[in-house]
């Protein structure tokens, strides 16, 4: 147990690159191991690992464990758990960081169960203190902030996207190729097809700006005004529960307790009242701008900038205003 040192980041390949949250985790791991010691390792499972290895080195990985196999061409929970486990056995880290995405959660939970290790989820902070790792995570929609640690041995964690900085610190990492013998059960799930319906969509959980619409947009038709504002800002689109339940947009846009949790630099809420269950998914945003015609709307109680007015008129006007400013600069 005393041999365990350093941090292992489980890479999440995404659209041919490493997911931002992987790069953020590597950057944070660098900062922590500078004080606590131990190497920063990254494990990459992919059909062709080279570009991911290069990216891990660019952000300062000391070692990259590579599981290069056609079996890992597309995410499969059990295959990626086996790959991460092989790297954990090789690297003997004190802490394993996975991404706070559906893929990362599966890998973290699977590895923690196999290792019988402490599982820390949805980290928004990670510190090293006297050789121990102390994790911060918000519970109950950010209404309580908890500091936790694993009680012994290696800890496995998932990291919330967008909370740690990304910084390049180029290194020439040691690359270690791992031969993984996948368990018979791990190869049972077979990929039939990969379907991309929303090519180029900005990831809601990783976006630095989110523009979200609610009932105050008036109609499903008007929701495109939200999309247009998002487009001009390079932002992801979000939605309140009520309009998802109305069927204006698909549930994958929903922000809140029964939707996604986001922490962008900027969250623009258009015609959203800001009920508890919506606030739970977005109140850790750095800056919140709210547009709502009801001056009593709850969202004004926690928005940094509130505009009392009709979102149906203000949203397209804001799109136009930003477009104008962009073309002027």
């Amino acid at each position: 147990m005393s041999n365990q040192s350093g941090i292992l980041v489980v890479a999440e390949p995404k659209d041919g690159k490493l997911a931002n949250v992987t790069l953020e985790s590597i950057t944070q791991a660098r900062a922590l191991t500078a004080a606590a010691g131990g190497p920063v390792s990254v494990v990459v499972a992919a059909a062709e690992a080279a570009p991911f290895v290069a990216a891990a080195g660019l952000f300062g990985a000391d070692r990259v464990y590579v599981v290069e196999t056609p079996e890992a061409a597309v995410f499969r929970s059990n295959v990626f758990i086996d790959a991460a486990m092989a790297a954990i056995e090789a690297a003997e880290p004190a802490m394993v960081l996975c991404s706070g995405s559906p893929d990362g959660r599966d890998v973290a939970a699977g590895c923690a169960a196999r290792l019988d290790a402490g599982l820390l989820v949805d980290l928004t902070g990670l510190e090293a203190k006297d050789g121990r790792f102390i994790a911060t995570h918000p519970c109950f929609g950010g209404t309580v902030i908890v500091e936790k640690e694993a009680t012994g041995g290696v800890a496995v964690a998932t990291v919330r996207p967008n909370v740690f900085a990304r910084e390049e610190t180029p290194k020439d990492p040691e690359v270690i190729s791992l031969e993984v013998e996948f368990g018979a059960g791990s190869l049972l799930a077979k990929v039939l097809d990969v379907v991309c319906e929303n090519v180029g969509i900005v990831s809601l959980e990783e976006a630095s700006t989110v523009v979200a619409g609610g009932r105050g947009m008036g109609s499903a038709e008007n929701f495109k005004l939200v999309q247009e504002l998002a487009d001009v800002l390079g932002a992801a689109v979000g939605a309140s529960r009520s309009i998802v339940d109305e069927g204006w947009v698909s549930h994958q846009y929903q922000v809140g307790q029964t939707g996604k949790t986001v922490s962008p630099q900027l969250y623009i809420a258009c015609g959203i009242s800001g009920a508890i269950q919506h606030a739970a998914g977005m109140q850790t945003s750095k800056c919140i701008v709210a547009i709502n015609k009801d001056p009593e709307a709850a969202i004004f109680n926690f928005a940094d900038y509130g505009m009392v007015g009709d979102a149906v008129a203000l949203v397209p006007a804001l799109t136009e205003e930003i477009r104008k400013r962009k073309s002027a600069s």
Partner: protein
């Protein structure tokens, strides 16, 4: 196809959640409901049963009052229920919960295990994967579509860009997302009938649970501190006088956000 659907009782999503400062445990003395995501899992289990036959058992870990969550699943149409309830289980973390559910599931008959993608209070989304790992069967999570052909599953796993289609033999653990179906409301007949359906309550002894793995003491994580963050303060509030859009743009520019 026999199906076990794992359900949890959670605090109403509209209610404020509070922690007991002595134990850091969630104060559950408020209105509790069946975890909203689990309704989709129960509905999916019922649809598979209706198309292919078999039995649906609802499995839950929680305090005695979580019986209500199991009864809701029974009222929707599940055939039997199992509640694992024991004071010794209080304070279990995701790992402990997965251990208990896996042990309970070992004593039941199923070809398929369904979960909601996560609970709206614990929010870890980690229990399905940990249960699959403990049972040594494949995991398919975050599913937007499930089809059964004989003993083969064809599923769609949601991604940001669309979905990935997988095929997998049973047995397997699946977690389903909102939008996979429209959960039914229990009928009056269903609610009445649920009271007569078998609901077995098992304690730690009945499942021969290893005490070192359950409850607060068995947790593999320790809470060091918990605090209520400073509530976000209201910032500027401006009335739109026709120049609202320019004002917002100016604010964004001043904060270097555009």
């Amino acid at each position: 196809m026999n199906i076990a659907v794992c359900v949890k009782q959670v605090i109403d999503t509209e209610a404020e959640k509070k922690l007991d400062p002595s134990s850091w445990r969630l104060d559950r003395n408020v209105n509790c409901i069946l975890n909203p995501y689990d309704e989709y899992a129960v509905e999916e289990a019922l649809r598979i049963k209706e198309a292919h036959g078999g039995q649906v058992v609802a499995v839950c870990m929680g305090p005695e009052k979580a019986t209500d969550a199991v009864r809701k699943a029974l009222a929707m149409g599940a055939d039997t229920g199992v509640l694992v309830s024991d004071e010794a289980l209080a304070g279990s973390d995701a790992q402990g919960t997965a251990y208990v559910l896996a042990e309970a599931l070992k004593g039941l008959e199923w070809d398929l295990i369904l979960f909601g993608v996560r609970s709206t209070d614990g929010e870890t989304g980690c229990v399905p994967a940990a249960v699959a790992e403990r049972l040594g069967i494949p995991l398919l999570s975050t599913l937007a579509k499930v089809e059964v052909e004989g003993s083969t599953l064809k599923v769609h796993r949601e991604t940001e860009q669309g979905y990935v289609a997988y095929e997998c033999p049973t047995p397997a653990v699946l977690s389903v997302i909102k939008g996979i179906n429209e959960p039914r409301y229990p009928s009056m007949m269903g609610i009445m009938g649920a009271k007569k359906k078998p609901l077995e309550v098992k304690d730690a002894g009945a499942l021969s649970l290893d005490k070192s793995r359950i409850g607060l003491d068995g947790a593999k994580t320790r809470v060091l501190s918990a605090r209520i963050p400073e509530p976000r303060k209201a910032g500027v509030k401006v009335e739109d006088d026709g120049s609202g859009a320019q004002k917002i743009a100016e604010f964004l520019a001043s904060e270097k956000l555009v």
